[in-house]
């Protein structure tokens, strides 16, 4: 006999909308402690390394920002689609396509100097991401193929394409046969915000994009269109919006921002393309988008939270020998608990005794 029961709320709870991301983080911490404890690690220590250590040490903070910026950029792009029920799961592929397109510009200009090179690389990155996202958009609008499947599958194509390029045509001729491209020259590398800092230009760009996205989503007809298509497709048609147009717009926006994140990462922390470049940011960004409630400001915060798990995961590997997969596990648990606790937005938990008494009254 269950003691608790879910009861539908008269209207969705606003408080819970803000509370469940925090609740999900708390549950992830608790479950992580138990799971790693059972596996024979120091459970509490693992959680401390992953969630607390990166925040406790100010020297780690620039690193957090560096990890957060691609997550935030990709997640904002994905969230625009998610708002319109366009489920672009292929942020990772678009991120790689952007990096590849931008790198193509870098390799074509590697003997040249000039302030124009970086903007052109950025533009190429955006276009590369858009091109990759255009394939699911075309298949969905033309043949009705689910963008969930196509965008996801295209990620594997992008990964293999990148592997091919760094091992074949783009391999550094002076690189002792290592599978990697040339290092970008100074004009092709993202400048740091201040001398000697890890914090590169990509971080203010991510914040700027978040602000722009906020304005577009809340104040413009395009943002309204995305919202209406997501909430009530029939009403959107009635209001004169075209679902086909919305699918194209949101997928191109998502692809473009992921592509921008890709080239910023290639021209920033990496400075070249290597087989280690696909780090799963595109997947983690899905968690970021939902944890941030598909809202640009929320996504900025959620991007930092997930960045903590990346940095903390690395710390835990060296400090207590936690496997690398632990990071992915924590990120997955976070999404899992978030989706589970979201039920509290529309339902409340009531003890069965109370529910019975109310029904009888």
């Amino acid at each position: 006999m269950p003691l608790l029961r879910l009861e539908r709320r008269r209207e969705p709870s606003r408080a819970m909308q803000y509370a469940t991301p925090l609740l999900a983080v708390a549950l992830t911490v608790m479950a992580g402690t138990v799971v790693f404890g059972l596996m024979g690690y120091d459970g509490l220590g693992a959680v401390r390394q992953i969630f607390v250590a990166p925040l406790a040490d100010p020297q780690r903070w620039p690193e957090l920002l560096v990890k957060a910026s691609p997550l935030v950029l990709i997640a904002i792009g994905l969230s625009i689609g998610f708002r319109a029920n366009v489920w672009n799961i292929g942020g990772e592929g678009q991120y790689l396509a952007g990096a590849v397109a931008g790198t193509a510009v870098a390799l074509a200009t590697w003997t040249r100097e000039g302030a124009w090179i970086l903007p052109v690389m950025g533009l190429a990155g955006i276009l590369g991401g858009m091109a990759w996202a255009a394939i699911p958009a075309f298949l969905r609008t033309r043949f009705g193929v689910s963008e969930i499947l196509t965008s996801l599958m295209l990620t594997y194509v992008a990964v293999q394409g990148l592997f091919f390029l760094v091992r074949g045509p783009w391999r550094d001729p002076d690189g002792f046969n290592f599978p990697q491209t040339r290092m970008f020259n100074a004009a092709q590398t993202l400048p740091a915000v201040s001398e000697g800092s890890l914090v590169h230009l990509g971080i203010p760009i991510a914040v700027l994009v978040a602000c722009l996205a906020w304005i577009v989503l809340e104040r413009t007809i395009a943002g309204y269109e995305v919202k209406v298509v997501g909430l009530a497709p029939a009403a959107a048609r009635h209001g004169g919006f075209s679902e086909r147009r919305t699918i194209w717009l949101t997928l191109l926006a998502g692809g473009g921002l992921a592509g921008l994140a890709g080239i910023l990462e290639a021209a920033g922390p990496f400075g070249q393309l290597t087989p280690q470049f696909p780090a799963g940011y595109g997947y983690t960004a899905i968690v970021v988008a939902f944890l941030g409630r598909l809202h640009p400001v929320g996504i900025l915060l959620a991007g930092l939270v997930l960045a903590v798990t990346y940095v903390g995961g690395e710390l835990a590997q060296t400090a207590i020998g936690l496997p690398q997969a632990a990071t992915g596990m924590f990120q997955a648990m976070l999404l899992f608990f978030l989706l589970a606790t979201d039920v509290l937005i529309r339902f409340r938990i009531v003890p069965v005794r109370v529910a019975r008494a109310r029904a009888a009254a």
Binding site: E11, V228, L231, A232, A234, A235, H238, G239, G240
Partner: protein, 531 residues
């Protein structure tokens, strides 16, 4: 109250059943008798009270007053389980089946008591064979056609050897072949002594199948007849009601013969989904200052016609729809609004309005084209809020203000808001479906007044409605939409119940004799009975 004679030979006898819901008398003193082995039609328009009545018989609703006798015994049917124990089975329009389970599992789940699976399969098999119903017991339900799913529901009922089987509009989802098979089975059941209560508004079917009919209108029994001898035209008249002429007509003060604002010519549309009705060769014109009513029972192409006119579904050719002489058949909803054609669909939640957004945001949905609620791609919230406020004030919408969520409004209030949102844009052409659905009488009168005023100002209006009284009250001309075809429009002044019955009967494919019932010569013949 007069004592009602008890008919001991009757399978089912209802005596003066009444049932009210807040604001509606769903059934009022309904009496009917179903003999053993009789296929009895329960006939009426949507909202006539058919569903409520059978829910009472099946124990889903308790009557406020009246008696039910089953095989001569006075009974109280408090639940479907009681009904099944008496020998009453019912096949609903919506099936309750688990898609992932097999046919036999679904049947087992629906049983009132536990039963050995093998014995059950044997009995089901015997039933299927006895009525020559093909059905593979091990197939998963999600792989079955709608007709096959209905067979599962029928078998569920037959397992308890029913004495009375209630079928709620069973053919609305079937193909003609499946209908034939169903009818053969029902006739066989009836021949074995099972009574059948058959709910429908499809007159042709009732004529083919039933040996008795009770006709409901507005919750009351208006007639009982034998459909085999009664003409479909006469039954349509009874269904619509004979008191049509008593409805107060609108004043005829407006000048006729304005310019044609909306013209539809040869509009045909293929069905867009499995349950959608194709539109066939629709043609009509609406002039400035004129209101044209489109009558007919729901599900005959009303929603498809509205979508085609509003621009949510594009017409095959641009010339099929013209607005003030300009072809707009291929234009989208937004472009049509900008040129002066506004529309209100029947479904409020999620179609005419977005429940989760505020009234201001909902004003943005359809009023932004004509009222400059956007500037260079940005939303002008203050302007939209002002407009929403004016709509709320003029149409007496009960809401906390423009910031209220659409879902927080009652259905009638939301309808007032939606109607006001379109009318106050002063569109050149307004197409509305069910303008007063769920709205109280006072508000309905206000909406009708607003429609008449809009027409008086030179707009052309199309009202698609199932409520004939409403159409007679506001429209200048009337046409009937049936099975995707539109009859020719007749002046409302000549639209007697008889003339409308003629239009509907003709559409139902019955040959129309020119001398029928002394029809006056001026009553036009239905267009496609001739075609």
């Amino acid at each position: 109250m007069n004592p009602v004679p008890v008919l001991h030979a009757a399978r089912l006898q209802l005596s003066e059943i009444s049932k009210s819901f807040p604001g509606v008398r769903a059934n009022e003193d309904v009496s009917l008798v179903v003999a053993p082995g009789e296929i009895h039609a329960l006939l009426g328009e949507n909202g006539a009270g058919k569903s409520t009545l059978v829910k009472i018989i099946y124990g889903l609703q308790a009557p406020d007053a009246g008696e039910i006798r089953f095989d001569g015994q006075l009974v109280t049917i408090s639940s479907p389980k009681t009904a099944r124990a008496l020998g009453i089975g019912m096949v609903f329009q919506q099936f309750s089946l688990f898609d992932a389970l097999s046919v036999i599992e679904n049947i087992a789940v629906g049983l009132d008591g536990a039963m050995d699976r093998k014995a059950l399969a044997g009995r089901v098999d015997a039933i299927l064979r006895a009525y020559s119903l093909p059905l593979d017991l091990d197939r998963a339900v999600h792989t079955l056609s709608v007709g096959e799913r209905q067979r599962i529901e029928i078998v569920r009922c037959l397992l308890v050897r029913p004495k009375l089987l209630i079928m709620d509009e069973p053919t609305s989802v079937l193909t003609p072949q499946e209908v034939e098979r169903l009818f053969a089975m029902l006739r066989q059941l009836a021949a074995e002594g099972c009574s059948i209560l058959y709910i429908s508004h499809k007159l042709g079917e009732i004529k083919a199948l039933c040996s008795a009919a009770t006709i409901l209108r507005a919750g009351k029994v208006v007639a009982a007849c034998d459909p085999r001898v009664e003409s479909t035209r006469r039954m349509a008249e009874l269904m619509i009601g004979a008191e049509l002429n008593a409805v107060e007509r609108r004043d005829e003060g407006r000048p006729a013969g304005g310019a044609v604002r909306l013209a539809v010519r040869g509009l045909s549309l293929p069905p867009v989904g499995p349950f959608s009705v194709p539109l066939r060769d629709i043609g009509f014109e609406v002039r400035a200052g004129e209101i044209v009513g489109i009558a007919g029972v729901a599900g005959n192409g009303q929603s498809e016609l509205l979508l085609a006119l509003s621009g949510e579904v594009a017409a095959p050719g641009p010339e099929m729809i013209t607005l003030d002489g300009r072809p707009i058949g291929r234009a989208r909803a937004g472009a049509r609004r900008r040129r002066g054609l506004c529309a209100v669909p029947e479904e409020r939640n999620g179609h005419a309005a977005i429940p989760d957004l505020s009234l201001t945001d909902n004003a943005m949905l359809t009023a932004r084209h004509r009222l400059a609620l956007t500037l260079a791609g940005f939303l002008r919230f203050a302007t939209a809020r002002g407009y929403a406020g004016r709509v709320i004030a003029r149409f007496g919408v009960k809401a906390t203000g423009p910031g209220a969520l659409a879902r927080s409004l009652s259905g009638g209030n939301l309808q007032k808001y939606i109607m006001g949102r379109e009318i106050m844009q002063a569109p050149g052409v307004l197409v509305v479906a069910q303008p007063t659905w769920g709205v109280d009488a006072g508000a309905a009168a206000a909406i009708h007044r607003a429609l008449l005023d809009l027409a008086a100002s030179g707009s052309a209006i199309v009202v698609i409605s199932q409520d004939l009284d409403e159409l007679l009250a506001v429209s200048d001309r009337l046409a009937v939409l049936n099975e995707g075809r539109l009859s020719r429009a007749i002046p409302t002044a000549t639209a007697t119940a008889h003339a409308l019955g003629l239009l509907m009967g003709g559409v139902h494919g019955e040959p129309v004799p020119s001398h029928a019932h002394g029809t006056p010569a001026r009553v036009p013949e239905p267009a496609h009975a001739v075609a």
